[in-house]
């Protein structure tokens, strides 16, 4: 186990072993390199369910305005991790920092109030309410002691338009009548309207068709281009490669690696997911947060050479268009 207190080095700028990561430099304006604390930082976070160690010793930073993909095999602890960040579970060990300040996320509401919005696997929308009602649920606007439907509808319409969500016929139709992608869009728009700064999505494209998946991926792009950080769980490495700036790989409750997407190819990711280590990325489960900055992962090595077992996904640069 590493000592959680050594977590200062978990900053994005700490990629000592390699050329400056473009991901890290884009977040830090030229004037103040590495001074601004990351949006969210986990230090030594652990979570047990009885004897099951769902998470142990997670050190992870989420920088502003970037898409971080969280991958891992079934049961690796991805859902547990985001539930910890969104206030559903409290960590048993470690601490969570928001913009550099330790915070206690004792309830989902506490997380939402900070600006952490979670779009759940099971979609926390009410099927019987319409789009506007869902987007304002819990934050309804009032006028003369009555719900101000008109201003809510206008705001909802504007937000959907800003996110280029144009496929719904009426924003007064019940969410139950929407397709999976449209529902995701509504949930994301709700988060945006509530001034979220970090949007967490658990398998947003699972069960979606090709077109709908594209809609959701474009939405994620929209979010990051508006400076909103995104933490997205996905089993679909195609999606990950398409949309993510950084990848965090969980293996049996430990962080096996965190790296900019351009430094990883799908073969390496799969290897990390299934074995917790990779010959190309010298990560050890005991030293998770610095996996990408280990000496073994010298410049140029990670993506060098074709990766076996992966024909379809090219070696994208990771910068989603």
């Amino acid at each position: 186990m590493t000592t959680p207190s050594a977590a200062d080095g978990a900053r994005p700028a700490s990629s000592g072993g390699r050329a400056p990561s473009p991901a890290a430099t884009t977040t830090n304006p030229a004037g103040r390199p590495a001074q601004e604390p990351p949006l969210l930082e986990l230090r030594g976070v652990g979570k047990n369910f009885g004897p099951v160690r769902a998470l142990s010793d997670i050190d992870l930073t989420i920088p502003v305005g970037q898409v971080t993909a969280l991958v891992g095999d079934n049961g690796a602890g991805k859902s547990t991790l985001i539930k910890t960040v969104s206030g559903i579970w409290q960590p048993d060990h470690g601490e969570i920092l928001w913009r550099g300040r330790p915070v206690h996320l004792h309830s989902p509401k506490a997380a939402t109030d900070l600006g952490i919005a979670t779009v759940y696997q099971d979609l926390a929308l009410c099927d019987n309410l319409d789009i506007v009602q869902n987007m304002f649920l819990g934050r309804e606007e009032m006028k003369y002691f009555q719900l101000d439907e008109i201003s809510m509808e206008l705001a909802a319409k504007q937000t959907l338009a800003d996110l280029s969500v144009v496929t719904v016929r009426s924003i007064r139709q019940p969410v139950g009548s929407l397709s999976g992608g449209q529902r995701q869009a509504v949930a994301v728009a709700k988060a945006v309207m509530q001034q979220a700064q970090l949007v967490i999505m658990d398998e947003p494209t699972a069960a979606l068709g090709v077109t709908q998946t594209r809609v959701v991926l474009e939405l994620i792009d929209q979010l990051s281009s508006r400076g909103i950080a995104v933490l997205v769980i996905s089993h679909n490495l195609n999606d990950v490669v398409n949309v993510a700036d950084r990848v965090a790989v969980l293996y049996l409750g430990r962080l096996a690696a965190v790296a900019p997407i351009k430094d990883l190819d799908t073969g390496t990711i799969v290897e990390l997911m299934t074995t917790g280590r990779s010959s190309r990325v010298a990560a050890t489960p005991g030293e998770p947060a610095h996996a990408t900055s280990q000496p073994g992962a010298g410049p140029g090595t990670p993506t060098a050479g074709g990766t076996p077992g992966n024909g379809t996904v090219g070696h994208h640069t990771g910068e989603a268009p």
Binding site: K109, T112, A124, C126, D127, Q133, E153, S170, R172
Partner: protein, 431 residues
Amino acid sequence: MSTETHQPAESAESGDELAVEAAIASPEVIADSLGEYLRLLFRRIRSGESGALPVTIGLVAIVIYFQARNSLFLSPGNLVNLLIQGAPYIILGMAEVFVLLLGEIDLSVGYSGAVCAVITAWSVFSVPWWVAILLGLATGAVIGTIFGLLITRLRLPSFVVTLSGLLGYEGLMIVLVARSGHGPGGSIPISNTIIDDLTEGNLSPVAGWIVMVVIVAVAAAILLLRDRQRRAANLVTPPLSVTGLKILVMAVAGVVVVLVGNADRGTALVSLRGVPWVVLIVLGVLAVWTVLLGRTRFGRYVYAIGGNAEAARRAGVSLNAVRTLCFTLAGVTAAIAGIVLASRLGSISTDTDGGQLVLFAVAAAVIGGTHLFGGHGKMINALLGGLVVAAIYNGLGLLGMSAAATYIVTSLVLLAAVTVDALSRRGSRAT
């Protein structure tokens, strides 16, 4: 018209989506002409997502049936009688809507309403009539709140808690009647003429017209004003023809009620005419509860909890508070129904059949289109469903059917309504 148009790239998938949307969305939000409105309305009904229309059609069919069997059915005297008979069922149905919307049920509303009526009938011997009514309503609030707290804090199933209420409050009612000293024969008479007049009294024919015109005008103004505000904000607005049709339906219903009420239903010796007050009580309860459910945060949260309690919780809604308040309001509404019932009967008796009342209440709500599993329904559903129940009850009575036959027919209608509800749910989930 609307800015939310279909993206061409989506059109391959949106053909099916359109059908689903049209089936589930309220027609006025997507129709832009009267013709399209009617077409969408029809498609919606066919897909099982009922509105007020099926129950209205059912009501018309029942009326035609009974009128064909006995021409007295549509006589003004009988129709007014039907309204007065139906009022307690309608109001109890509205009480039930509060809890059905949550996906819960309250089996005790019949007897808790009766207990409240006992409190009012008893206290009016010594306090002014309005204090007596307030005491009755407060009793309903306390009863409902206790149930709400048991159900939310101890996480007991509402079915079982209110089932115990069904039994317990019958016992309490009998004890109270005996203790009051006013009910030696097992019933407390209503000793106050105003409370008696809640159902016995009538508006004068002129007052009936004035009140009707005012109500329709206010409702029409609210609808038109809302449309105008939406149009001014550049939002999709129902076409004028659709709103006009709604106003027309309201006006026709109002004229019919006043014409029926104002027709002389007395004997050759004594003339009796005028719309009964109880019609205004029912409309008043309907209006207040409709505004509460439709225009306030509380109402929104009731629907949200019924639709997806977890989503509501994550949105910061206090589930326990909203649920408890629903049971409180159901208790208050049941008290209103109990007082109206006592007013109609001229007394509140230990023979009051709270079990039958609750069956009629649930039937009224569900026949009217309220879902048993929460999230869908309106107060107006209880009005329409309550009229159906009252029509069956009244009509079978006119045909000389026994009470047993009335129970059986009502339970069959309830069963049919629940079946339709469950099937339409299954249907909409399959899409």
